[in-house]
């Protein structure tokens, strides 16, 4: 197997809006090796989330190729991409995205159930213990604070030991102190599981903790480091 986790070539993304074509991303080329951590930064509206969605196979590119863990996403159907996501990808979102009707444990079990793994309950509980929520196992999202919810989300993201983790402003909804805790936890888990990490952030501190930074401006890469 090659050493590349993610490779993007000549990626374009545009959308039709009121009979007008809006270019969101133009000619993006990125290579990310396994185990790397990459921060995507840029001003609001520059296309960060769009790029992240494309990388994770949540969206269709207009042009170009995206290869994720050796899978050419651009040639795949939506359901095939879903399979790739289930096997290789973990997510953390700014707005947590926990299912309000499931308890903390059940939320963490969800990706394991998608993968049809045994001992889902056990793995979920130990993962929640790992993020320090052993006393919140049966709580529902509405009964948890923002920081706690994001910890559940982290547990959910890492419980499948994904090859690559996407995070869209994981600390964006939290105060600085809680945000730092979450970020610490994220990097700890990342090194434990040895995941490739790609995160979108406005936070320069957080970006600096990554090996590389990708800067977007008006949909184009400026200088990759």
């Amino acid at each position: 197997m090659s050493n590349t986790a993610l490779s993007i070539q000549a990626l374009h993304k545009s959308v039709e809006l009121n009979q007008q074509t809006i270019k969101i991303l133009t000619d993006i080329n990125v290579h990310i090796g396994k185990g790397d951590s990459v921060a995507i930064v840029g001003s609001s509206g520059s296309g960060k989330s769009t790029l992240l969605g494309l990388m994770a196979g949540l969206d269709n590119a207009s042009n170009g190729t995206i290869s994720l863990m050796g899978n050419n996403l651009t040639e795949m159907s939506e359901d095939q991409r879903a399979k790739v996501r289930a096997e290789h990808v973990g997510f953390v979102f700014q707005s947590f995205q926990l299912l309000p009707n499931l308890s903390a444990t059940e939320n963490v079990m969800l990706p394991l159930e998608v993968l049809n793994q045994k001992n889902a309950q056990h793995s979920a509980t130990s993962m929640l213990e790992r993020v320090g929520l052993s006393h919140r196992l049966t709580h529902y999202p509405s009964q948890l604070s923002g920081g706690e919810q994001q910890r559940v989300a982290l547990a959910r993201a890492f419980v499948t030991q994904p090859d690559i983790l996407f995070a869209d402003e994981p600390t964006g909804n939290l105060d600085t102190k809680t945000g730092n805790h979450i970020a610490d936890l994220l990097f700890e888990l990342n090194s434990e599981v040895n995941t490739t990490l790609i995160l979108v952030t406005h936070d320069e501190h957080l970006a600096k903790r990554c090996h590389h930074t990708i800067r977007l401006e008006a949909g184009a890469l400026v200088n990759a480091s």
Partner: protein, 848 residues
């Protein structure tokens, strides 16, 4: 994802949804639909089984073969010998003969019956004259007869005396008051004597060539009866015939048919209303699960995995609602049967499980039919929604959804009514009402917007809220309006239906008929009635005559052979004359003769010559059968003289009204020179029956007929049906409430959010509450206006186009409906959105 994990996830989520209460409205609406369907299904099935049983009771068997001569035993038993089917056969032989006791003679209609008669149903008899009646399935023993009271009074004998029938003397052991298979109209019959078939040979009166009616009563399982009928029918001669309950329908069948179609239609209204509630709550359910769908997809679930989860959830919901609804339906129909058990026939058969199966099927059909379009959108949700909240799934084209719903509703109506005309009419009507309703709502909103500045300050902001949300509130107003309209219509039609029945069979409906009151006895008879405080109907003068010619063509040759059996032609008719048309008769052609000055003595003395033929009004069905038209000349034979009359009108008669009814009504004076007797009817409560003894003693010439037993039967049937109708009505009301809840819920989260925001911005609870009241009450009264317009239009159409009745605008409704709407929607609205005031704003804002 494997099916088991999906199923587990689906169930887990479903249970949580259930606990959170987000399925309550959908499940309740479904439950109402299924309970309504199964209650109606179970009950009408039992009712029609009971009716059928009752009808076979009236026939005395499942099947009767009627023949003018004895049927050969080979023919009768041949089938039974060659088949294992178990058929019971009873024999009766009917003939007219003179019964003799001492010096007295009476022409009587004798029925000789085998020992197993009657096979179905019962006779009613008493052991003393006008004594206590009781039902029996026995038949007279050898050497005994049971006779109608008329036989006793005319022969001047008592129970225990003997009468001679032909060459044999038989002892009178009971008075007969009711027999199941009495055929023909109840007047004009010689009184009945029932004897044992084994005494017939000794009597020696039934000889070759005598006019005798042989009947073979057959009882068996439905299958074997059908097989037997199919087997014997081709072997019968033209003079022999097969009778079954389908050609011997009970007189109340028209009321029952109407009641059943009312029940079915209101059942349909209940289901459609419930379906609207389901569609609304399904939409809400789907919309609140876009995030769930996106997240599961994001974690690697396929589109069909997501669909499967929701389809499975709905299937579980449909299954449980179907089962529980069927159980509720069973319970509620048992409950109805329990409440009215006194009115039910002794054997009220249980219903089969058919309605439970159709209920279960209906549960799936309604739930999926009305939620699938929105459910399919869940499949379309882009996983990208986890990053961009505002990404709505692309919807199926609106036209496709509306078309699908339309087809689906049409199918549902058709399956339910089995009537293509009715289906089209209700679809066109429904669509028109919806369209005009929407236009009216839109106009009302515009008007409201214009007027709002003139409203007092306190209600202004509530109305502004209503208008601001007009995209949703307009639809809600329309939905409430149509719901209110459906409920109003169902209530009004129910009242009309029940009023009709009650006016048809009032408490004091005549249960006795008296005929052959001689002209000389009229005064004394009337005095007898007043003395005994009996109110009777008018006395109708009656001459008995036969219709012989129509426009000088002999009637016999003008009718086909098939119609020869028409009872109106084969026997003498009761001819009467009247100044005014009977209340429940209706002219369909021609005109009634003008009322003449009563004080003018010459009127009643008036006689008619050949040039000035008297006018006659003819009953419509007979007129149609004989092709009688206005101004035709009819010739009657009364005694030995003829009477020519010209047809001046054709009228319909309510044959099931239990009042004296006539095929032919003449102009006053027409019958002056012909022999007439008088006829009347009256109501006599059971405890006063002894009066009849002295009546018969004082007026020995009269013929007294009791119809109380039949009346009682009919009354009990109508009472049952009325109750069933009201139960069905309550389902419509429940379904209407479900719609109201569903519609209010669909904007609840938005309201919660706004309310919380308002409160954080400093609005007082009182202010918010007033706003809510104003908004809901205004919406309610607007929908009341829609309902008024819709109801009036539908009622107008029904009355003038279907029932051909005069229609009067109902002004009370115009006031009542907007008020009801305001009150109901106001209360419901406050109730559903009480959370807006109760919950802390922070919690609400955080949850959303």
């Amino acid at each position: 994802m494997t099916l088991t994990t999906l199923a587990r996830l689906a169930i887990k989520l479903l249970i949580r949804e259930w606990r959170a209460g987000s399925l309550t409205v959908m499940a309740t609406a479904l439950l109402i639909a299924i309970t309504s369907h199964t209650t109606i299904g179970f009950f009408t099935e039992r009712l029609s089984n009971a009716m059928e049983a009752k009808a076979t009771h009236l026939l005395g068997a499942d099947l009767v073969i009627k023949s003018p001569s004895a049927v050969s035993p080979e023919l009768l038993d041949g089938y039974v010998k060659n088949n294992t089917d178990n058929l019971n056969i009873a024999h009766t032989i009917e003939f007219t003969t003179i019964a003799i006791a001492g010096d007295e003679l009476k022409l009587s209609s004798v029925k000789a019956v085998s020992n197993n008669y009657p096979l179905k149903g019962f006779m009613r008899t008493s052991r003393t004259l006008f004594g206590e009646e009781f039902t029996t399935t026995d038949s007279p023993a050898v050497g005994e007869v049971w006779v109608e009271h008329r036989v006793l009074s005319s022969l001047n004998i008592n129970i225990g005396n003997t009468i001679d029938i032909g060459d044999t003397a038989l002892t009178v052991s009971r008075v007969l008051t009711f027999e199941p298979d009495r055929s023909g109209a109840f007047y004009a019959l010689a009184p009945r004597i029932i004897m044992n078939l084994n005494d017939l040979a000794k009597a020696g009166i039934v000889q070759q060539g005598s006019r005798v009616d042989y009947r073979y009563l057959i009882e068996g399982s439905p299958g074997s009866i059908k097989a037997y009928r199919d087997w014997i029918k081709p072997q019968l001669t033209p003079s022999q015939s097969v009778l079954d309950i389908h050609n011997e329908r009970p007189a109340v069948s028209s009321s029952l048919v109407r009641a059943e179609s009312y029940m079915k239609l209101s059942g349909l209204v209940a289901i459609l209303l419930a379906a609207v509630a389901i569609a609304m709550s399904a939409r809400l359910y789907a919309e609140s699960h876009y995030d769930t769908s996106a997240l599961i997809r994001c974690l690697g679930g396929r589109q069909n995995d997501v669909l499967f989860i929701f389809v499975l959830q709905l299937s579980i919901l449909a299954f449980f609602s179907g089962v529980i609804g069927s159980i509720f339906g069973w319970i509620s129909q048992s409950f109805i049967a329990f409440i009215i058990q006194d009115m039910l026939p002794e054997s009220f058969p249980q219903a089969s499980l058919t309605s439970a199966w159709t209920g279960l099927a209906l549960s799936f059909i309604v739930l999926f039919g009305f939620s699938l379009p929105t459910l399919l959108r869940l499949r379309q949700v882009s996983p990208l929604r986890v990053l961009r909240k505002n990404l709505e799934p692309s919807s199926l084209s609106g036209t496709i959804i509306y078309l699908a719903t339309f087809i689906f509703v049409s199918l549902l109506i058709f399956v339910y009514t089995q009537d293509i005309k009715l289906t089209t009419a209700s679809l066109i009507g429904g669509a028109t009402i919806a369209l005009f309703g929407f236009i009216i709502v839109a106009l009302l909103f515009i008007l409201l917007n214009k007027l709002n500045q003139h409203f007092p300050l306190i209600i202004k902001s509530g109305i502004r809220n209503l208008i601001r949300r007009k995209n949703e509130t307009r639809w809600q107003t329309l939905a409430f309006g149509i719901t209110l309209m459906a409920m109003t219509l169902v209530i009004i039609i129910r009242s009309d239906l029940i009023d009709t029945w009650q006016s048809q069979l009032p408490e004091d409906i005549p249960n006795h008929f008296v005929m052959n009151i001689l002209p000389g006895d009229v005064k004394a008879f009337e005095e007898f009635l007043t003395e005994n405080k009996i109110t009777a109907s008018n006395l109708y003068p009656v001459s008995r005559g036969r219709l012989t010619h129509i426009n000088n063509i002999a009637v016999k040759s003008s009718v086909t052979k098939e119609e020869e059996s028409n009872e109106a032609l084969n026997r003498e008719l009761n001819l009467t004359e009247a100044k005014a048309i009977q209340k429940d008769n209706r002219l369909v052609q021609g005109e009634w003769w003008p009322p003449r000055d009563i004080s003018d003595n010459s009127v009643s003395k008036q006689s008619f010559s050949a040039q000035t033929k008297p006018k006659v009004s003819v009953e419509a069905r007979l007129a149609k059968k004989l092709n009688i038209e206005l101004n035709d000349e009819l010739t009657f034979f009364i005694g030995s003289r003829s009477l020519k009359a010209s047809v001046s009108s054709i009228r319909t008669v309510k044959w099931d009204s239990f009042k004296p009814n006539f095929y032919m009504v003449f102009e006053p004076g027409s019958l002056n020179s012909y022999p007439t007797t008088n006829l009347t009817s009256f109501y006599l409560p059971a405890q006063k029956r002894k009066v009849l003894n002295s009546m018969l003693r004082q007026f020995p010439a009269i013929t007294l007929l009791e119809v109380g037993a039949i009346l009682q039967q009919i009354k009990s049937i109508l009472a049952q049906v009325t109750l069933a109708v009201e139960i069905v009505l309550s389902f419509v009301l429940f379904a209407g409430f479900a719609v109201t809840f569903a519609a209010l819920q669909s904007t609840l989260s938005q309201r919660l959010h706004e309310g919380a925001l308002m409160r954080t911005l400093g609005a007082s609870k009182r202010q918010i509450r007033i706003n809510q009241w104003v908004e809901y009450a205004m919406m309610g009264s607007l929908s009341g206006l829609i309902a008024v317009a819709g109801t009036e239009v539908v009622l107008w159409a029904l009355y003038t186009q279907v029932f051909h009745l005069e229609y009067r605008v109902n002004f009370l409704l115009m006031l009542l409906l907007p008020l009801t709407g305001a009150l109901v929607i106001g209360l419901f609205g406050i109730f559903t959105s009480r959370k807006v005031l109760e919950e802390s704003p922070t919690l609400v804002l955080r949850e959303s």
